[in-house]
């Protein structure tokens, strides 16, 4: 996650005096017998770049459409700057949306597309022209102003859609999978551009995406959703390092999950996970009871891989033997799929500091995996 400018820690959600811009208050939305949003409550603050993240059907798009005004909640209230926006139709809200398909008007030029919303509010001609020019500069589209949407490329269309949705300087901008149609290189560049524009204009952005890398990169906070409910709402680093459930741990990035029983030993928790194997030593802020069933989650990059059994130390509080079953080579890193004595597979990831021909490990090698006592996290599952 790219942090905002050094020095200022942006976290209005921790400030009790800060009033949220958007409030979902016990919102439920059903389509017939299908419950899309289930008693959801959420606060989003001004100037946030907030991400709704989840698989298809989790309800994130429905939440966005309710904010835009295209769907109404079945029960509960949605507030914008304190006011209930339920009865306000979409054309009267200070909310604008950037559509997944861009929805550029094919019969209008780029200039007219951007001017469209401004014309509807009856803006004076000279002010309108200035504003459109400003938007064109912001999105670097000055050269293409007279063209029609079919005469420009996909990346340019995306920028027109962004310019059009920002033209009216809305309090809230909704972005529906804005980068989905772009290829990877363009996507990365655009992500930083989006963050830049968000900071510059000071608009609150709410982005809907199923791409967790995207959410982690751009967002100040991420809401992980599943089946109409919020599972965890936190900053990207906390989502990654301290997921609150197996679902979140598994959804974001790669993770190893080992199931076992807790054995409380002072400030450490020992997890009995396999017969005849020493317990996994971990730490946890959560209070587990003795013999409670727990899930131990650890990221592959936190596991070190050795050809010989290493010395026990703080860094290597946990040591297990295994055999390399598979290697996934990704150029800069390699992920080793290692089978443990009880049949469980663990993934260990290291940077390829040596060329592949000089790599230490190969298939079927016997190796040792190690990690520290604080490298992983205990979850209830």
């Amino acid at each position: 996650m790219a942090q905002p400018s050094a020095g200022c820690q942006f976290s209005p959600w921790t400030d009790p005096d800060e009033k949220p811009l958007i409030q979902f208050q016990s919102v439920t939305k059903s389509f017939g017998s299908f419950v899309a949003i289930d008693d959801l409550s959420l606060d989003i603050f001004e100037r946030e770049f907030f991400a709704l993240l989840g698989p298809s059907g989790c309800g994130k798009t429905t939440m966005m459409r309710m904010l835009a005004g295209f769907e109404a909640p079945s029960s509960g209230t949605i507030r914008l700057a304190g006011d209930d926006i339920g009865p306000v139709p979409p054309n009267k809200r200070a909310v604008n949306m950037m559509f997944q398909s861009y929805a550029l008007f094919p019969h209008l030029s780029v200039w007219e597309n951007i001017a469209f919303g401004l014309r509807r509010e009856g803006m004076a001609k000279h002010l309108l022209v200035d504003r459109v020019e400003e938007m064109l500069r912001l999105t670097r589209l000055e050269k293409f102003a007279r063209r029609k949407p079919h005469q420009i490329s996909g990346g340019q269309r995306q920028r027109v859609a962004l310019a059009r949705s920002l033209a009216k300087a809305p309090k809230l901008l909704l972005l529906d999978e804005p980068l989905g149609a772009l290829d990877k290189k363009l996507r990365q560049d655009t992500q930083f551009e989006l963050m830049d524009i968000q900071e510059k204009t000071g608009t609150t952005f709410v982005i809907v995406t199923h791409d967790q890398e995207e959410a982690m990169t751009v967002a100040s906070r991420v809401a992980v959703m599943d089946e109409g409910r919020l599972i965890q709402v936190d900053t990207p680093d906390r989502i990654y390092e301290a997921p609150n459930s197996v679902y979140v741990a598994d959804f974001i990035g790669d993770v190893n999950i080992v199931q076992g029983r807790a054995d409380l030993q002072g400030d450490r928790v020992h997890i009995n996970w396999a017969e005849g194997q020493p317990p996994i030593i971990g730490t946890s802020n959560h209070n587990f009871s003795q013999d409670q069933s727990v899930h131990f989650a650890i990221r592959p990059e936190k596991i070190s891989i050795w050809s010989d059994r290493p010395e026990t130390s703080d860094e290597t509080a946990n040591i297990v033997p295994g055999q390399i079953i598979d290697i996934a080579y990704l150029g800069n890193i390699s992920t080793y799929h290692v089978e443990l004595p009880n049949g469980q597979m663990l993934k260990a990831q290291t940077a390829n500091t040596h060329r592949i021909a000089r790599r230490k490990f190969t298939w079927d090698d016997t190796v040792w995996l190690s990690w520290s006592a604080t490298g992983g996290i205990l979850l209830e599952g």
């Binding site: 979409p90 054309n91 398909s101 929805a103 919303g117 490329s153 059009r164 009216k168």
Partner: protein, 273 residues
């Protein structure tokens, strides 16, 4: 470049020959100096001259065009509304009946539609004349228009309308500024279809026209009942010519527009970012 089998080439040739020969022969004989079909007496345009001097025909043509323009415009408005209701109306009471009423006239034999409309006009005491023909034509044309327009509306990207609303349009403004310009080609073809159907209609016009109003098809029909007539040949040729020019130009214009658009899109993706 795909080679067609001999079977396909034969069916295409025979099929199109079958479709076009009668019309071609009609056109040729309109220039026949002799009145008879059997004898070719040399090239002559006298029948065209006779045609343009025939007051009754010219009057009927004028009435036909008037009726055509008025009924097609009315039918386009009503048909587009109906299409919108069908595609976007959602569920409402009486939807099944509505949909049935829209699609039935497409296949209903014209004698039945004509008879029912005439009896209706008499029942409500409306004198038969140009107005009744217009009402009748509007009614069956609107169904054709609605089929054409709803086919376009079904594929219409709704997010365009939502974007318009999001940017501040009322529903009516969204329709006027975004939907209508985009579905315009379909609306225009609907209009053209309605116009053609009206111009060509014999049966319904016969039932609903009064003694005062005669349309061209009615005139043509009463003339040809007596047999082949070279003046009718001339008239037919003119009508075929108008339609041919119309269809070919529309085809060329649309082809060129598509080609140009295709090139523009390719250029955009390839080059300038």
């Amino acid at each position: 470049m795909k080679r067609l089998s001999w079977f396909n080439v034969t069916s295409l040739t025979l099929g199109f020959a079958f479709l076009y020969l009668p019309m071609v022969i009609l056109v040729i004989y309109s220039f026949n100096a002799s009145k008879l079909v059997t004898v070719w007496a040399g090239f002559s345009t006298k029948w065209y001259g006779r045609l343009f001097q025939n007051e009754a025909f010219l009057d009927a043509a004028w009435v036909t065009i008037k009726v055509g323009l008025l009924s097609s415009c009315l039918a386009t408005v009503l048909g587009t509304m109906a299409a919108y209701v069908l595609v976007r109306g959602g569920r409402f009471r009486g939807r099944v009946l509505f949909s049935g009423m829209i699609y039935a006239p497409l296949v209903m034999p014209e004698v039945i539609t004509g008879l029912s409309l005439l009896l209706f006009f008499i029942g409500i005491g409306l004198d038969r004349g140009v107005l009744t023909i217009i009402l009748a034509h509007t009614t069956f044309s609107m169904c054709y228009v609605s089929v054409v327009v709803s086919a376009r509306l079904v594929n219409f990207d709704r997010s365009l309308e939502e974007a318009a609303l999001d940017l501040g349009c009322s529903s009516l403004e969204a329709f006027r500024l975004v939907t209508l310009p985009i579905i315009a080609p379909a609306v225009i073809s609907g209009w053209l279809l309605a116009f053609t159907l009206s111009l060509d209609d014999l049966v319904i016009a016969s039932f609903t026209a009064g003694p005062s109003a005669t349309t061209l098809p009615i005139k043509i029909f009463s003339a040809v009942r007596l047999g082949v007539s070279p003046e009718i040949n001339a008239l037919s040729t003119l009508m075929i010519a108008v339609v041919t020019i119309g269809v070919i130009s529309a085809s060329l214009i649309s082809k060129r527009a598509n080609l140009r658009r295709h090139h523009e899109e390719q250029a955009a993706e390839r080059g300038q970012d």
